[in-house]
């Protein structure tokens, strides 16, 4: 007899074998009915290639071969507000713009200024100002929700990224073709892991979520590049479940465009196309809860204004963040635009930062998830008390 892993959790908890808490929550405990999907673009997306400041007189001279045509021309950008336009491969998101379900924040950056991917991602994940902290801001935010956030967090992928690591147990899920062991076998393994501080909690978190994914997803086969879409679709379905997680994170790579970045086509266009596809997949699989949903897209820093010597861009400073979703008060490009004139650039080479990333993240946590502002200042972003949250991001 094949028993589902969910069943196993219930049985095991009842017998008192397992001390860790199962991630599947009871309805009463859910701290929010809002959904948040955090998409982290690892490798540093070129903000100027995604949300294009086409009306800035310095845009074309500064960007050279990376510049895109004006709106209305062949291969031209898709106009947003007369100042900025979207890369044409983001056309599906342009439709969301018209419904006020898309918003961009330009010239945004974390407080980090040193252009190392790894330190910058660390700080983007921890929400701190020094590398080396060991909990992520999203996990600390989960802890502030009613019920302590248990069962609300989900990482798409085999591991849990730093942004979701911390004291609140978080589930992770990725498609696997391996046969599922019986409940009896898992019970024996759980016995071995009972006193193990690392393996025990990981097993408990994994069991609950594996069952949820199976229950909804049937037998999805692993299919190379399609994994990304399976992840997005599964995330969407799990988030749509009233008793499922509320907050999910997933990651996209391919953004470190030192070479062959391209304009209308090229490595950046490919990566942006994958981003649009992922967001569209989420939209479809979350249609039941779209009105309560926010997708936040962030990256560790922007890239150089001018092309480098190999048709790409090197590590820069400020970039772009995107918000999307039915809960959004969108249709706007936020952030003071610093301009692209040589004397306006950060260290003569990068887009100058004018908005602190944490202003955006605070607004998402407070306005969307309802995390109390005092808790955000005290527990989530203690280094950013003086950074005001961006106002009115979410529909009233």
């Amino acid at each position: 007899m094949m028993l589902h892993r969910r069943h196993f959790i219930a049985t095991a908890s009842a017998t008192g074998l397992l001390s860790a808490t199962a991630p599947r929550l009871s309805l009463a405990a859910a701290g929010t009915d809002r959904r948040l999907v955090l998409i982290v673009l690892r490798g540093a997306m070129d903000g100027l290639g995604a949300v294009i400041p086409y009306a800035d007189p310095d845009y074309r001279p500064a960007r050279g071969a990376l510049a895109l045509a004006e709106p209305g021309q062949e291969g031209g950008v898709l106009d947003l507000d007369g100042r900025f336009g979207l890369h044409p491969v983001l056309a599906p998101l342009h439709e969301w713009w018209g419904k006020k379900q898309l918003l961009a924040v330009h010239a945004i950056a974390t407080p980090y200024r040193d252009r190392s991917h790894f330190d910058a991602q660390d700080l983007l994940d921890t929400g701190g100002i020094r590398a080396g902290d060991d909990s992520g801001w999203l996990n600390r935010a989960l802890a502030r929700l009613d019920g302590g956030g248990k069962g609300l967090g989900l990482s798409l992928g085999q591991g849990v990224p730093l942004v979701l690591r911390g004291s609140v147990p978080v589930a992770s899920w990725a498609p696997s073709p391996l046969p599922e062991p019986t409940m009896d076998f898992m019970d024996r393994v759980a016995g071995l892991y009972r006193n193990d501080p690392v393996l025990g909690p990981a097993l408990m978190a994994g069991l609950g979520v594996a069952d949820m994914a199976n229950g909804m997803d049937g037998n999805k086969k692993r299919d190379g590049g399609k994994d990304r879409l399976i992840l997005a679709e599964t995330a969407g379905r799990m988030l749509s479940d009233p008793a499922g997680p509320r907050i999910a994170s997933l990651e996209l790579s391919g953004w470190d465009t030192h070479v062959g970045q391209g304009a209308i086509q090229g490595r950046l266009a490919n990566a942006l196309g994958q981003l649009a596809e992922t967001m569209m997949t989420l939209r479809v699989s979350m249609s039941d809860v779209w009105g309560q949903t926010l997708i936040a897209v962030v990256t560790e820093f922007g890239r150089t204004i001018r092309p480098n010597g190999t048709g790409g861009t090197d590590h820069g400073t400020a970039g772009v963040a995107l918000l999307a979703g039915g809960a959004l008060n969108g249709g706007r490009v936020l952030g003071e635009w610093p301009g692209l004139r040589d004397d306006k650039l950060y260290e003569g080479r990068d887009l100058a930062p004018t908005t602190d990333m944490r202003a955006l993240l605070k607004a998402v946590l407070a306005g969307h998830l309802g995390v109390p502002a005092a808790d955000i200042d005290r527990f989530v972003f203690p280094d950013a008390k003086s950074v005001p949250a961006l106002p009115e991001l979410v529909r009233a």
């Binding site: 990482s155 849990v160 076998f185 071995l192 979520v209 790579s253 070479v259 260290e347």
Partner: protein, 441 residues
């Protein structure tokens, strides 16, 4: 450290900490002197025959350059060939490690290869990973860090992976004629990841200076090797970390790498990574300091630094603190069972458990902390795979004997009881492989 009365636990500890765990007979063989077993491996050995017979990187780079121009069927054929070479290479590498008589050396090769990562994130790297490791890393694991850094940073695979092959000095002859120029990628990662470390005391100006120094290092398209093209090299003196590097073309890169290897923060950076790999995720600061001192005192003599590692008490602290990476877990399973796992299954295992060799997610290499490998889904997968492995081969082993030969005194009573009560040999083996003792090193 002096081990007065070596125990079975220390033997099992040493085999896991410095190798890929125990294969049949290993525990008995080393139990009289586990530390001596580790130290004895720190003298150079002949290159394994399989690697000596390997084609090396040059013909493969040549093929890759030809394939770039190929279209249609020829392009497909070239891609297929590259994929097959990659598969053959990663299977060879894993089997060599699993069956090695000097597994500590294999661990060191893999550690340093990860430190100076090249990755299939750039797909052209796939057929080059093992050749790069054999040419740039393996000869130097018991030599000097400086020689390894020179070999790795200037290896054609690295020049391709981090874009230096295309980087051109803006004021060079080629740079003045063509609308191409500098790419900072390798210059930055050499400072940040390979040498000084991110807090190692360099600035953006140093990144640019290093990138300029490296201009000209590109591919010889006829031979498939690295070569220095003076027409692409940025002329003039460069200033790196406050030191003047006089214009000397081809010699500048070596001079700069030497300067960086001798910089004090490089010793600390390397010491911390070694200690994190072989001792604990957050190693004791004293252990890092000891390794850094050994590195500085010996001018980066890696045999000396590795001996210091083996002799430190911290390295022998029990219980084993590190979680095995998927790669180590699979290699340890091969070694422990000594079974002939077909190539396809081996490659599938690596893919399923999330660590294909030479496929690190970034130039920083594979992460090296438990939290990076113990996401709930990752752990579930290890268990699923352990049982699936048990179902295929469990019946061919005496699992109770297997506990003794693979884990020895690392297996506690709980595990022995669970195995004794397991309903089938398949499940018994699945439990041993899943067990906390087998998951650690």
């Amino acid at each position: 450290m002096v081990i007065s009365a070596a125990t079975g636990t220390q033997a099992a500890h040493a085999l896991s900490r410095f190798g890929f765990g125990a294969g049949p007979g290993d525990l008995d063989q080393i139990k009289s002197d586990p530390q001596g077993w580790a130290l004895d491996q720190l003298t150079p050995r002949a290159l394994p025959t399989e690697l000596a017979n390997h084609s090396g990187s040059a013909p493969r780079i040549f093929d890759m350059l030809v394939a770039r121009k190929a279209k249609g069927e020829a392009e497909e054929r070239a891609k297929k060939q590259a994929r097959e070479r990659y598969r053959t290479d990663i299977v060879l590498r894993t089997r060599l490690a699993a069956s090695s008589v000097v597994p500590f050396q294999e661990r060191l090769v893999q550690f340093w290869s990860n430190h100076f990562t090249v990755s299939t994130q750039r797909p052209v790297i796939a057929p080059l990973g093992l050749a790069y490791e054999t040419e740039a890393i393996r000869p130097h694991i018991l030599g000097t860090f400086r020689d390894m850094a020179r070999a790795a940073i200037l290896h054609p695979a690295m020049l391709i992976y981090l874009d230096n092959a295309q980087s051109i000095g803006p004021d060079s002859k080629t740079g003045q004629k063509r609308d191409r120029g500098l790419n900072e990628n390798l210059g930055r990662e050499a400072l940040e990841l390979h040498l000084l470390g991110v807090d190692g005391g360099y600035h953006q100006d140093d990144v640019r200076a290093m990138a300029l120094i490296l201009t000209g290092w590109t591919l010889d398209e006829e031979r498939g090797t690295a070569s220095f093209n003076p027409r692409r090299h940025q002329p003039g003196e460069k200033v790196l970390l406050g030191q003047r590097i006089p214009e000397s073309g081809i010699s500048e890169a070596a001079a700069a790498i030497d300067l960086l290897c001798a910089y004090p923060t490089t010793a600390t950076h390397v010491a911390r990574k070694l200690a994190r790999h072989f001792i604990a995720d957050d190693p004791p600061p004293a252990a890092v300091a000891t390794l850094a001192k050994s590195f500085r005192d010996s001018h980066g003599d890696l045999a000396e630094v590795t001996r210091a590692l083996v002799r430190m008490d911290a390295t022998w602290a029990q219980p084993l603190a590190k979680m095995r990476s998927p790669n180590d877990f699979i290699t340890a399973t091969l070694r422990a069972t000594a079974l002939d796992v077909p190539d396809d299954r081996l490659v599938n295992a690596m893919r399923l458990l999330g660590q294909m060799p030479f496929a690190a997610p970034s130039p920083a290499g594979w992460p090296d902390r438990a939290a990076d490998w113990t996401g709930p889904d990752a752990i579930l997968r290890r268990i699923d795979w352990s049982l699936a492995f048990g179902q295929r081969v469990g019946a061919t082993l005496d699992v109770r004997r297997f506990i003794d030969t693979s884990l020895g005194d690392l297996a506690d009573d709980g595990l022995r009881q669970a195995v004794a009560r397991a309903p089938s040999p398949a499940e018994a083996l699945g439990l041993v492989l899943s067990s906390p003792a087998f998951q650690r090193r």
